[in-house]
Symmetry: C2
């Protein structure tokens, strides 16, 4: 057995049985070891941004890490943007990054780079294993780090000689991590605040947005008059009919400020104090009124469901029934194909227990309002703002949940960053419906350009903000990678395609010209 075999055994011993990968020569012994270990499912991404986006989506739905296999510093670099999204989602990910042998590094061969330096900005845990005998221990530590609370991105650097050298070590199990128990003083402080008569917002994120925790939060809200609100962007929200409906802090600064203008105190439950996505001249960074008090019930390192339950006890909200959203399926839309029409069609056709990955960017602002009556589903958002996430995240979600329909709402500009994920959807036969919001521009930037006060875009701005000339044919793009596809230009055509896609298995892409 070599170090690579020990690594595979350690992954399996810790219930990691999916490896999203794009290997190279320095990882070939790891590839050979994976080949000897068919219990691990290896899934190829045609660039590493697919690999890490898939690992993020997988972790959100499986609640455990996948391994990634990345080729040296440049392979890791290509995956960093979606590791950024993963760390912002508190997704557990175990990256295995190959490197040259220790003896080869001083030769500064072409692919040599500072892998630790590249890894650290997007990994909370980074370690270079030095020899085959250490691989099991180090891999277990990586898994332990990924599964600690809050969950983390862990990057293990595996020199080629640590992979290929023989070892007699046994695989190790990572210690099982539990989240922190709620802090009694914080529970008491929050309960006291909820009785002080001020206008209060309970701001939720993380595990506080699962169905059970939301029901508890709903009871607290009914009892105390506090408002429930979710952070602007969240890794996973359980929502739809039969669940507690919760609004999010708006993306737009002026809307966020208006939404929170009357709030006198905020209690954070896995959320951060709301800040603007970007800074603007003359506008504040904090979305809270200057006098607003902020206290933390619990962070993402804590059992948020338990913290809410203890708070419900403390405020005497245990006997109440939560307010649950009714199912309200609208008719299929007609007329112009707008984002709202897409959301209406989605609400009309979404199968129960689906997963929706939302990278609509500017087109998705009304998604929550328009889909409140949809059947229950998991809603995954791009958490770090690193665009080029949706198509790949859907790969991971679909691998984690093969019996659930995955719907990706994908802005065209962002989607082009990660179009390669369509190939993996096809290769793995994943049950993913992709809706491309084809406005043929970086629409969000047109709004931002306008707000700069520079007037109408001239040639340079137009050529940086528009995706026309030539327009991208998303149906041809999808078919070139083996995904069936069709284009819709009206709400009727879109509805027909979407309804059909919902009743069949396998990947399908609809290019919605909006």
């Amino acid at each position: 057995m070599n170090g690579a075999d020990l690594l595979c055994q350690t992954l399996l011993a810790n219930d990691i049985d999916v490896c999203f990968s794009n290997p190279g020569t320095s990882e070939m012994h790891f590839v050979a070891a994976l080949d000897r270990m068919p219990e691990i499912r290896c899934i190829l991404g045609l660039s590493e941004t697919v690999v890490t986006a898939a690992a993020d989506g997988y972790a959100r739905m499986a609640e455990k890490p996948a391994a990634t296999l990345l080729h040296l510093g440049p392979g890791l670099a290509n995956g960093l943007a979606n590791l950024h999204n993963a760390r912002r989602a508190f997704s557990p990910v175990v990256n295995v990054v190959g490197d040259h042998t220790t003896a080869h590094l001083p030769h500064d061969a072409p692919l040599t780079s500072d892998i630790e330096g590249l890894a650290r900005p997007m990994s909370q845990w980074v370690h270079r294993t030095s020899r085959a005998d250490d691989v099991g221990r180090d891999a277990a530590r990586a898994i332990g780090a990924a599964m600690s609370w809050p969950r983390q991105v862990a990057t293990l650097i595996l020199p080629a000689d640590a992979a290929w050298s023989e070892t007699a070590e046994a695989p190790q199990k990572a210690p099982l991590a539990s989240p922190l128990a709620p802090d009694a003083a914080r529970i008491a402080a929050a309960a006291q605040a909820l009785r002080n008569g001020r206008s209060t917002t309970l701001l939720l994120s993380g595990m506080a947005l699962r169905a059970g925790a939301l029901e508890t939060a709903s009871r607290i809200a009914q009892k105390t008059g506090a408002r429930l609100m979710a952070q602007q962007s969240n890794a996973r929200t359980e929502r739809g009919a039969g669940r507690v409906s919760i609004a999010r802090v708006p993306y737009n600064v002026d809307e966020a400020l208006a939404t929170l203008a009357d709030t006198e105190q905020v209690i954070l439950v896995g959320a951060k104090a709301p800040a603007a996505f970007f800074a603007y001249p003359g506008k504040p960074s904090s979305m809270l009124p200057p006098a607003c008090a902020v206290q933390t019930l619990a962070g993402q390192d804590t059992d948020l469901a338990a913290a809410l339950a203890e708070l419900a006890d403390a405020v005497g909200a245990t006997g109440l029934a939560p307010v649950l959203a009714p199912e309200r399926r609208p008719p299929l839309p007609t007329g112009a194909l707008t984002p709202d029409a897409i959301f209406q069609a989605l609400t009309a056709t979404l199968p129960e227990n689906s997963i929706v990955c939302d990278e609509t960017i500017s087109s998705g602002r009304n998604f929550f309002a328009q889909t409140a009556g949809a059947p229950s589903h998991d809603y995954l958002q791009i958490t770090g703002g690193a665009i080029g996430w949706g198509l790949g995240n859907a790969v991971g979600a679909a691998v984690a949940c093969p019996d659930r329909k995955v719907v990706v709402l994908q802005a065209d500009g962002s989607g082009m960053y990660i179009n390669q994920a369509l190939w993996t959807q096809a290769r793995e036969g994943l049950d993913v419906v992709t809706v491309i919001f084809a406005n043929r521009r970086y629409a969000i930037l047109h709004g931002e350009f306008k707000s700069v006060g520079a007037g109408a875009p001239g040639r340079n701005a137009s050529r940086m903000l528009n995706l026309d000339q030539p327009a991208i044919d998303w149906t041809g793009l999808a078919r070139s990678m083996g995904v069936e596809a069709a284009r819709a230009e009206t709400a009727e055509a879109f509805s027909r395609l979407l309804a059909a896609a919902m009743t069949r298995k396998g990947p399908f892409l609809i290019e919605a010209l909006i």
Copy 2:
């Protein structure tokens, strides 16, 4: 005038008039400033790996930097792999990376990340400008750093408030850098070595591979009996008919060792001592015989043409004529479509003064031998091994040299990393012929897997090393982004397509099923 205007003026004052970009909200004032400065040509890449590959190709051909415009840490991260190739090519690049305002950073908004940490592994110069008044000075410093010898990747971080705040500062010119003059002692030592009767290899890279320097080297070789050889991978080699023909150190370790087995001393001229691309069990990292002496005539910080000229004087090689390659156009190939048939067709049809970007990986090993009789051309290689370079590098080369035909030889696996570059080729109407070497596998890795001794690939290995199931339709992929394309399955069909593509302007892609 704001900081962004000052930045644009500083770029122009230093003769930087191309900006490869993918902007976001935090760079919107820079976009607006570029819009007021039509002298700067802004070229959009649909992911940042296109942007930085293009900047690398531009720098190699224009011999000056383009600016890049990258959106915060994740935008930079997406471009790092090709910045790795750029730094290995000694390509001057000036990255402008937007960031949040200084006041916004403590709020840890979703896109916040450690930009300096991300930049450093692939940039020799990194600086964060702090206010609008400093933008001109800092941009001039960045340009100066990029244009110093050896040329570098410089990354300037531009917080949004430094871009949008007013300033009355004037643009600054970066000092003009010259390479170091040759070192007299090294010239003397090299001259002495060339007279000591040992079997000597002059190993060249960088500016020593331009036509004039190669002619000087050829004279030295004739006079002294030394062998000329180029480093395995080089940024730009001037070769073909009428130029000095030079072989490269082979990629394959056994071939490289055999090639250099008789060498008793090596004199480095802009090259590094040859090392294996990867380390292998039981094989050496150095490709030189253990007893081989190594000395350096000059590094890439030095005027290599002058160093060779002084060496030629010192050894009395001035009166000789260099050995130049004759033009030998073969007939168009027939029969099976193999890499050799492609190179034969290329040699038969390549226009004089073309530019060839080679990312063939495993398919290209015979390129040099097969194309020795082609007319003069510039030959650009992937220098850092970070795959996903060719299609984007061709964008930059074509922008730098609009009157020259650019031919990209692109492996299919690597090409998928950067397929988005086809859209930029179409949008800009670039005169680029792309040849996809479609073997539908990571062929190089099949060889490496075999050498691991793991036998025939099983399911996991096959699914990580093969690109079939589904096969990628490169013609449909190209057309979906506006590039005309056709597929060839025989040498005859390929030759017809290539000959036609050579006589027309604009982007065209040939998928060669090999």
